[in-house]
Symmetry: C2
Subunit: 335 residues, 2 copies
């Protein structure tokens, strides 16, 4: 899949095209992988621009393959020690059916650096979700907000999304009182009925500025921000003294001009700390996260849901639906 044109507003399928190329033979130290699952994430939208935010992943260049998208697949040919045909691996050459990957990337040991995955009792697609970048993002967001330990009041926005639904459940498991918000009645019903969230609201029916004082009259300690804009502004209004914000993303801004909070001074007034973060910068937490979250997934105390699109050609549609809020849980393409 490659980019044809950068979208000006919402992503549409015609911004992309599937290109057929011959699959190269793997050279020495390389493996050929048949990709089986590839990831669709809100942050991809930030790379569909002439220049992505500094420090972030680089822009996709029109007319070339989209590198740097997490994928799971099976090795079908290996010229690299430690990799055998049939191994399930992850790497970062997604949104394509086959990839030739250099095994030296294994040494980096990051998410998306070629590695053989343990798929005993684990669905391979989970490595694109709770056992991979998504889980690490949720877990490290709670970590940067100082919320891995204490029982506090935590608001998670976009809580029916991939990161949000994990952050919601992990925070609940850790003993926090969690308020979850999402953008449709269906999502809120899922949060309440399936995830067992006590306090959830639909931000399209009730503004956060109204819902938060109702649900947390004593104020919030932590806000896990997946939305930005009016959500972040409402959090600043409703955080207690010494509150913390984990700035995970601001999906409300990705397809339009940023709607910035006009009350940032409250950070000074209330001694708030806002920390931006990306899970990929917290690889030290990966083993701990995989152990804890993996355990909760296997014993059923954490629910994980996927919205699956079939076939590479559906990837742009999947991204458009994700950005428009039409997917639930982790969005994936099965290749």
């Amino acid at each position: 899949m490659q980019v044809v044109d950068y979208p000006e507003g919402p992503v549409r399928p015609e911004h992309f095209e599937v290109v057929e190329v011959d699959v190269a033979d793997p050279g020495p130290g390389q493996v050929l992988v048949r990709n089986t699952w590839t990831s669709v994430d809100p942050g991809l939208r930030l790379r569909l621009r002439p220049s992505a935010p500094v420090g972030y992943f680089s822009s996709f260049r029109p007319g070339t393959a989209m590198d740097g998208i997490l994928t799971v697949g099976q090795v079908i040919e290996s010229r690299a020690p430690g990799f055998e045909p049939g191994n399930t691996v992850w790497h970062s050459y997604g949104w394509r059916e086959h990839a030739v990957v250099d095994a030296s990337e294994q040494a980096m040991n990051g998410i998306g650096d070629l590695r053989v995955l343990d798929v005993d009792n684990v669905a391979p697609s989970w490595y694109l979700g709770p056992l991979g970048a998504i889980g690490l993002t949720a877990y490290s967001g709670l970590s940067v907000a100082g919320a891995l330990e204490h029982g506090e009041t935590v608001w998670v926005s976009a809580a029916a999304g991939a990161v949000g639904s994990l952050a919601t459940q992990i925070a609940t498991r850790l003993g926090h009182r969690v308020i979850a918000s999402a953008g449709s009645a269906e999502k809120v019903a899922w949060l309440v009925d399936e995830l067992g969230v006590a306090d959830a609201f639909d931000h399209r029916e009730e503004l956060p500025a109204v819902a938060l004082p109702r649900l947390a009259p004593g104020g919030l300690d932590v806000y896990f921000d997946n939305v930005g804009g009016d959500h972040l502004a409402a959090a600043l209004d409703n955080l207690r003294m010494f509150g913390r914000v984990a700035l995970c993303g601001s999906v409300s801004d990705y397809e339009s001009e940023p709607r910035v909070p006009r009350n940032l001074f409250l950070a000074t007034a209330k001694h708030l700390t806002l920390t931006g973060f990306r899970g990929s910068l917290h690889l030290d937490l990966l083993p701990e996260m995989q152990r804890r979250v993996g355990g909760w997934l296997r014993d059923g105390s954490i629910t994980y849901r996927e919205t699956v699109y079939e076939g590479l050609a559906q990837a742009p549609r999947a991204l458009a639906d994700l950005l428009a809020g039409r997917t639930l849980g982790k969005t994936l393409v099965r290749l």
Copy 2:
């Protein structure tokens, strides 16, 4: 002094009036103080509104005395143990010539809670500056930004102001490379010639977005923000990965609609931490700050400058000048 009307835009003297009232006799446990110096600070502007930011000091109410402004004076009559006529004290009933203060506030031991001050080798007015709230704000701002220890690149804005000029000098003393900005050629000359700052720029001549890449091509580690708006946006653009911002104030916004940074997403991209703070919430650092900064002041390695207005009637003019950027160093009124 009391407020007549809340200003809509810039503060003008006619928003205030001096009211003469009889000085009450101190009751049991109280002292009568002849105030000698009173403080003029940018944050007062935030209290000239129907409601001040939540968590901040409360609004001044029209038609009543303006409580909660730091002041130094001399006890002229005492009915409280531990206070003698002639003692120099600080308290928080400024912008007036006399005040009857309850000595039980001493127990709180905060800045502005009635306390006898040590004025050996120390100018009393310094307690409204480097040895009081101003020093503690500068010092605790560097503390919340994790900048009390390492030699890094630190930008301080409004660096010719009371807090900024101290933060600039403390950071320099701590071994940081400091970039200082201010709003006039005179201020920049003072920073360079008197404070010995190597890298200073006039933000009215050269936008921070232009000056910062020139002066810190490798990026900033820390931004001590006294300005907000375009300054904060430029900092977000120029901070390195894992950079930190101390949100001290945003004087650019106090007399107009907030001009908010539109690039807050860079916090997520670059793993930046923004921490709002007020010195008064870091009283634990007060003794350490007074010892270190007091030493640097006495040995002349820190320069401290005051802009002094004479007489209570000049207090509104002092505030208006401060907010318009027409003062240098700490702004005070001698009563």
